[in-house]
Amino acid sequence: MRADVDDAPEDPGSGRLLKIILPLAVAAVLLGSCEAAVRIYEIPHYLMPSPSRVFDSLWTDFPSLVPSWLVTIQITGLALLFSVLGGGALAILFAQSPWIERAFLPYAVVLQVTPVVAIAPLIIIYVPSTYAALLLCAWIVAFFPILSNTTIGLHSADHNLVDLFQLYGASRWQTLTQLRLPSALPYFLAGLKVSGGLSLIAAVVAEYVAGTAGTGTGLAYRVLENSYRMNIPGMFACLLLLAFTGVAIFGLTSFVSWLLLHRWHDSALARER
């Protein structure tokens, strides 16, 4: 028997296994007790469907859900892509001169702090295509973390290294590409993780606002549709897909971050104690 819990990580194999098994065990217990409760107390499925019923609904509805799912994924992915491009480009622009930053940052903040639910109806009225309107809404929410993080990152280059670049007569371009951008990378990636989740949330919120009036057939629209029909298992099925999408985005952005940082950045290093 081991006396000390701290000894456990010494065996990386069992540690990793435990990391996977523990959350799965929690899920099994939760779902099992939920299933049992619904059956024992005979809760009607239009109030609280049993997990088995939800999975059943997901299984049968899946073919019809896929096109909607793809629309949501596409809007989320494009919003994130434009956030990276737009937020990154704006941050680089801001880093060129404190005056540019002074002039434009307040407007970026205003866009960020105004709730997207409040702006969305206007955007949906003004922008002729619903798809473009949804994309715009998602982008407005998602680009800010990347912008603000990357801006801080670009300013955070080691002052002595900045001096060294100056000493060796580096051009503005060289200082940007070889010093400021690599210094900003960990900050940018932290922003990317936040933006990934936000773009999914904003895509769903915008779709809710567009509602049945729009031609959008994303997952959020399907949730609404199921709620009008009192199809509670269907709603849960859509939620499952949305949650899975969010987790997948988080996993993907975390992986990209690990890929780019694990050789050198403290945040990605495993430490032995």
């Binding site: 080691d158 290294l161 060796y168 060289q174 050198w264």
Partner: protein
């Protein structure tokens, strides 16, 4: 009249200096007088230490020499205007790029001149060999100890074969054992290659061991108060640290420093 001013009036033994401070003063925007009336020449091949208490402007003088900042008065006169690869600079911290390997870090000055990595590999390897880091080219800075990081920093400063090496308290953050070993290795390199070196330190013992000449500085306002030659012959080794001559120089320099603090 103090002995220090006696020493100051001694004409510099350098006839044609590589670079001269001519009445250099530096006042910061907040009104702090970092330096006043600096008049001193640094000869080619010298190892000059700037020694003084904190706030005496020794680092400021070094940065002016590097062209990082301009003097508020006077000028810095070079015998030949320096090119960008003529100056090597070593900071108190290793100041390495954490995202780049050791070799890529050493390659940086050459890269900024437009020399490709492949083509400059022999020079990078030579510089790493000089500081005793052959075999570490592919390592990342985080994998190295403090002393090894400092060696990389020195290799980077020497890779352009500069005419003058400027070092700003490079070993101050290292432990005593590492510091003493790096002192020995630096001096060995200097004895072999004789690049002009200006070395900022607040350690009397370090400055006597390394230097051919010590400029003692005083604070508020920052100025040079003594110009002391260390005439012990090179090469110097650990035996020199134990010698009577080392002791005598340390005493003289300490006395000058004490007077500088009292002024």
């Amino acid at each position: 009249m103090t002995v220090a001013s006696d020493l100051l009036e001694r004409p510099s033994q350098v006839s044609s200096p590589l670079v001269r401070f001519e009445g250099v003063g530096k006042t910061f925007r907040n009104g702090t007088k970092a330096l006043v009336g600096l008049d001193v020449g640094i000869g080619a091949g010298e190892f000059v230490s700037l020694l003084g208490p904190s706030g005496c402007g020794k680092s400021t003088a070094l940065r002016l020499l590097a062209g990082l900042g301009r003097p508020s008065s006077g000028r810095i006169a070079w015998s030949e205007p320096p090119d960008r690869h003529d100056i090597g600079f070593v900071f108190q911290e290793p100041t390495l790029m954490p995202w780049a390997s050791v070799a890529r870090n050493v390659h940086l000055p050459l890269k900024l001149q437009g020399l490709r990595y492949r083509a400059s590999m022999p020079r990078v390897e030579e510089a790493l060999e000089m500081v005793g880091l052959e075999g570490f080219a592919a390592s990342y800075p985080r994998e190295l100890s403090g002393g090894m990081k400092m060696r990389v920093s020195i290799a980077r400063a020497l890779v352009t074969q500069p005419r003058i090496l400027l070092m700003d308290e490079p070993f101050a953050a290292l432990d005593e054992i590492t510091r003493s070993r790096l002192n020995g290795d630096l001096l060995h390199l200097w004895t072999e290659r004789r690049f002009t070196t200006v070395f900022v330190t607040h350690s009397v013992y370090e400055s006597v061991f390394l230097s051919s000449r010590i400029l003692v500085m005083a604070a508020r306002p920052g100025r040079i108060v003594a110009d002391l030659p260390v005439d012990a012959p090179f090469p110097r080794d650990e035996a020199f640290r134990m010698s009577e001559s080392y002791n005598r120089h340390c005493r003289a320099v300490s006395a000058a420093l004490r007077r500088a603090m009292e002024q």
